[in-house]
Amino acid sequence: MKNLPENNFWNEIKDRLDHYAEEPADDSWDKIAGAINNTPQPRIIAWLERRASSTQVSLAGFAFLVALAAGDQAATTWGSFVADAGVERVEENTATVQQEHSARAANVHDQQSAARETSGKMNSVGDVNDAGRNVVHRSDQQKIAAHTDPGKVALSETSPIAPLDTTGIVDPVYTGKHGLSAEMGPAVDTVDQKDPDKKKKDVVVTTREKKEAEKKDAQLHIPMVYFQVGPSLAFHKITPSTSDDVTITDLEESGVFATDRAGFSVEAGFQYPVLPRLEVYGGLSYYQQNQNIRYTLARAASGGVSGNADDGYVFTPATGTHEVKYTMRNAGVSAGVFYRVKTHLLEHKLGVGVLYQQGFQSAAGEGSAYTNKGSKYWQYQLQYRMEAGLNDHMRLYFQPGYTHAFHVDEKLNGLFTIKPYRAGISVGIVYLFKK
């Protein structure tokens, strides 16, 4: 090198590069400040983000479901576990009637308050009625003071609503939510202790309650069978083997909605309600999917060597592209539980279960790395079911779900192991064995 020794030349470059400075974009600090002011993400979120492409469908679905469940504050609850059109109508009427009671009671309460303010002492609020309606009897001033909550105002039989006689079919959950159940009985008792008709009515109410309880109990233990079918999108967690001399340098990823991720499943089995909101299920399951997994590998055992003694030698491993035909025909059994979270137009249920499947498809071809036959998969299932009654015996449902393999015993003569998982939506029918 003319006029400049080699080292000095590189040192000058080093100095100039080392001291090189450049202004970043103006909004850089805003982005950094925004990031550092946020709380650190939990590991699970970071993990989900890294696998966003494969989990976004299921996450979006479950976020929607959770939102639905969380918003279930005002929904009325059907008295029976299994939908019964007749009972539904009665209970809807009941709810409507009670809402009317509640509204009217609130109205009366407002009038009571106004009356208290104007009259001071008052032994009865019966005279604050509106043209003879909404008559409320109170035994004394203390009763009025105790009932400051509009939802806890008691009504006597003199109310025009009373002849409807809905006492015996009051939905305990609904009334519990609105603070009516506990107050209504004692209030009625307090008002008309001396009324002989009241005793008769109490007997009628008790009989109806018993019948209703028996009916509910009968409906609770109705066995059901289900059948469902649906498409799904499959994804895989691929773990390269570390015990060989091969490095997988590239893996061809299909798009999230690629056609070769598509598969379908069929399931059929029994369901049985064990508690008003809980039912167990168990059945047979079939799953089918074809996918080609393409990857590039580098083999340490073969390759070329270049370089020289002064600068060192470079070993370039031989590379090649390979493909695994991942053709699955799996059959197995599943079992789990469904929990009814909400009943509003549809019955909304959250389900969790375990699915065991075994492959029975022969090898995709001679020399194929993957043999489905004999491969075993233990998977868990998360499901959300929206169910609607078609008639007394049939119910139709839509069921988004997520299935994830947690233990895989696969006949994969490959350089890696695979854990499949999939998101899908099924359509199914439930048949109720009702008398």
């Binding site: 470059i13 100039r16 590069l17 090189y20 202004e23 950094i32 340098t249």
Partner: protein, 184 residues
């Protein structure tokens, strides 16, 4: 040099102190990131990631005097992580027949080059060469350390450095010839 007060405030995650530290070092670290990145946009991403790591992990630094060196090493490692994270395979070009470039008046050439142009020459190197060149020549890492950082052998690191130097000289020569032609 950062004062101990600013350093302690940054450790306490004081927003104003963090912004002051950023203002002090943004240009230096952006310059570093520019050398590792293929373009300005990528350098911008690396810089932001590096500062986030700096502010998150500043408590690991024991004294204010060590902060500057630590910040630079964080930026360098972030630049390397950037490639690993994106699962981009670092391309190490064939280096079997790297010839020696004939001597030329590099001193004159370097004097005529701006720093920006010099950085653009480094940016123009193949990815693997660029990483090894920056780590060895500018940052002063050994081939053993570079091999560990990039997941390559020491031999690969040496040959990539050799190739990077050859390419830079070649481009400088070409540049010199062009300039001489223009001057003639």
């Amino acid at each position: 040099m950062i004062g101990p007060e600013l350093f302690e405030q940054c450790k306490r995650k004081d927003g104003r102190a963090q912004q002051s530290l950023y203002m002090l070092y943004k240009a230096r670290l952006m310059g570093l990131c520019r050398r590792y990145a293929a373009d300005r946009e990528e350098a911008q991403d690396i810089l932001q990631e590096a500062f986030i790591k700096i502010f998150t992990n500043i408590h690991q630094v024991s004294a204010a005097g060590k902060l500057e060196g630590w910040m630079k090493s964080v930026a360098v490692r972030t630049a390397i992580d950037h490639y690993h994270k994106r699962k981009r395979s670092i391309v190490f070009p064939e280096t079997d027949h790297t010839p020696e470039v004939a001597s030329a008046d590099y001193e004159t050439m370097l004097d005529n080059l701006t720093d920006e142009y010099l950085v653009s020459l480094v940016n123009g190197l193949p990815e693997g060469c660029r990483l090894v060149f920056n780590l060895f020549v500018v940052e002063g890492y050994s081939h053993t350390e570079i091999a560990g950082l990039l997941g390559i052998t020491e031999g690969t690191s040496r040959s990539q450095l050799h190739h990077a130097k050859f390419l830079l000289k070649q481009r400088l020569t070409t540049l010199g010839v062009k300039r001489y032609e223009k001057l003639a």
